[in-house]
């Protein structure tokens, strides 16, 4: 289990989990779950297009995920964000369908872009992932406070001279960057699941931003490790275990919240708003 091709799987899984845990915390805080689903899922069309014209799929993925991020941010200013995200997603998927209709013998490649081929990662694929992953985490670290403030209290952020719309664009670009690096190795569906389940569970366990983010990374790591181990033993797809364990963590988190509300005397009850404000001051 810890030799041969599995070494790369453990490595890449851990890197992806760290990036997803950190970024996912803000996805959940900002309510960008739909964008986090739409960008990786639609970006696959770029890979199909790149395949058609004979370019490196990474280029296609990058171009499409960036275009998706910018398009969603631009159109959201003058329309409903969720409807715009849905339209951007279906437009990219439709382009993907058009590209695929013009090329042949792409079935296994689409399957791996959707569900990933984490068990077949080569060592040469490691470096771009490490580099782009580092860029994403550093970007989040640099923008930590403004991102947090615009997530929780856009009004206060605007009063302090921050521009929530601009930060939204930057955040979506970081998401697009993470997408480009992760989709070829773990698939569009797995990265989305890792960006929602673990951070949402982590938020149930702690009100403090940094603690919640750390927990989010830890939960994402345990999820992917357990999923890899189970997948190795049973031969079932990794994506299934990641989806199941993420959902299980979320259920545990919600149960903990219910339990704490019922029996926890040490903490004062907090309203939803004050819980968010508490996150500003870690």
């Amino acid at each position: 289990m810890f030799s041969g091709f599995m070494v790369n799987a453990w490595l890449i899984g851990s890197i992806v989990a760290v990036v997803a845990g950190v970024l996912g915390f803000f996805v959940v805080m900002r309510g960008s779950a739909f964008a986090a689903h739409a960008i990786p899922n639609g970006a696959f069309a770029g890979a199909a297009g790149a395949n058609l014209i004979g370019v490196n799929p990474l280029v296609g993925l990058g171009v499409f995920s960036l275009a998706a991020a910018l398009g969603i941010a631009k159109l959201s200013r003058r329309g409903r964000a969720d409807a715009v995200t849905a339209l951007a997603l279906v437009m990219m998927l439709a382009l993907g369908a058009a590209f695929l209709s013009q090329s042949t013998e792409y079935e296994p490649a689409i399957f791996s872009l959707l569900f990933g081929e984490i068990l077949g990662v080569s060592t040469s694929q490691l470096w771009p992932v490490i580099a782009l992953g580092a860029v994403c985490v550093i970007a989040v670290a640099v923008l930590y406070r403004p991102l947090l403030l615009t997530s929780i209290a856009p009004d206060i952020a605007a009063a302090r001279g921050l521009r929530p719309e601009r930060l939204e664009v930057i955040f979506l670009i970081i998401l697009a960057c993470a997408t480009t690096m992760t989709v070829p190795v773990v698939g569009a569906l797995l990265i989305f699941t890792l960006m929602i389940g673990p951070p949402a569970a982590a938020r149930c366990f702690s009100d403090r931003a940094l603690v919640a983010m750390g927990l989010s990374v830890l939960i994402a790591l345990t999820t992917i490790w357990a999923a890899l181990a189970c997948s190795f033993t049973t031969n079932w797809p990794v994506g299934f275990y990641v989806g199941a364990y993420s959902a299980a963590w979320f259920v545990i988190g919600r149960l903990y919240v219910v339990w704490r509300r019922a029996y926890g005397r040490s903490r004062r009850r907090r309203s939803a708003v004050s819980k968010d404000v508490a996150l500003i001051a870690p």
Partner: protein, 301 residues
């Protein structure tokens, strides 16, 4: 005439079926979609197509009727999203994401098990897009009947639904159970999305649900005209898309046509972009004021 309708267009049975089933799906999706967009549940509307498709592949594995799989999974998924019971928008977003993540994980498992059971190709394309030309003709009557029932449920809860979509507080003050109405609407959404996923595929299901509705809400002043504009637009883009796709077989020398879904989605996207142009949009201050004051008065009065 010849240039618009290529030879054999009117005598082709699949084309005729696609015309009928496409129109039915477009109308039901447009009407449910107007409420979906107004209530800010586009993400749930899209996620339910993926959940329903997962049910479809599950039904294939367990040898059940696909319709049972699509509708059953949709209703279960909608129930799971609602049972997290989060009132805040952000929480609803997360609940939808968790259900979607779990469902896609299951889809991966079913695909894996299905391929070990029978060597089926094209499954992941089926998951992503579906197709308008592959519906089994024997299921058409059932799909149409279920669609009519869904619209009937919406008509029954029309007023409370409208009021609780526009102003939950006002609705609650008038004695409407916003929660019950919300659950009923989610069930109607799940059934309509399940039906359209099986009829026209998951890609077109989301496109026809959100596109015409979002466009109509931008250009109309009250809910009635939004419902009509969305339905008409849905049917028109579907039919024009089918005609273009049929014609496109003759555009390329390779005789590889472009898919129907591409044309329909492109038309919808174009219409949405055009509706945002100055002069086309109705003049209101904020796009979030989805419900025109006019229909608010009507609903309240």
């Amino acid at each position: 005439m010849h240039y618009l309708f290529e030879p054999g267009f009117f005598s082709s049975a699949p084309v005729g079926i696609a015309f009928v089933i496409g129109a039915v799906s477009a109308i039901v999706s447009a009407i449910v979609g107007v409420f979906t967009v107004m209530r800010g549940q586009s993400f749930a509307g899209h996620a339910l197509t993926d959940v329903a498709t997962t049910g479809g592949s599950g039904a294939f594995f367990f040898n059940l009727s696909p319709l049972v799989g699509f509708l059953g999974a949709g209703v279960l998924g909608a129930g799971a999203m609602e049972s997290v019971g989060v009132d805040r928008l952000r929480g609803r977003d997360v609940a939808t994401g968790i259900v979607l993540g779990f469902a896609t994980g299951l889809a991966a498992l079913f695909l894996y098990l299905d391929t070990t059971k029978s060597a089926s190709t094209g499954v992941s394309q089926q998951i992503l897009f579906g197709s308008i030309f592959t519906l089994d003709p024997s299921t058409i009557p059932l799909v149409v009947v279920m669609s009519v029932i869904t619209l009937g449920v919406l008509a029954l809860i029309y007023r409370p639904l409208l009021l609780s979509s526009i102003s939950p507080d006002l609705a609650a003050a008038r004695g409407i159970s916003v929660r019950v109405i919300g659950i009923l609407f989610m069930l109607a959404l799940a059934v309509s999305v399940g039906l359209s996923s099986i009829a026209v595929g998951s890609l077109l299901s989301t496109a026809l649900l959100i596109g015409p509705a979002a466009t109509a809400l931008r250009v109309t002043r009250n809910l009635h005209s939004a419902l009509i504009v969305a339905s008409v637009m849905g049917v028109v883009v579907t039919w024009v898309g089918i005609i273009l796709a049929y014609d496109s077989f003759y555009w390329f020398t390779s005789s590889q046509g472009l898919p129907v879904s591409f044309f329909i989605v492109a038309l919808i996207f174009l219409a949405y972009l055009l509706s945002g142009l100055p002069g086309v949009r109705r003049r209101t201050a904020s796009p979030t004021a989805a419900a025109p004051a006019h229909s608010l008065e009507r609903a309240a009065g």
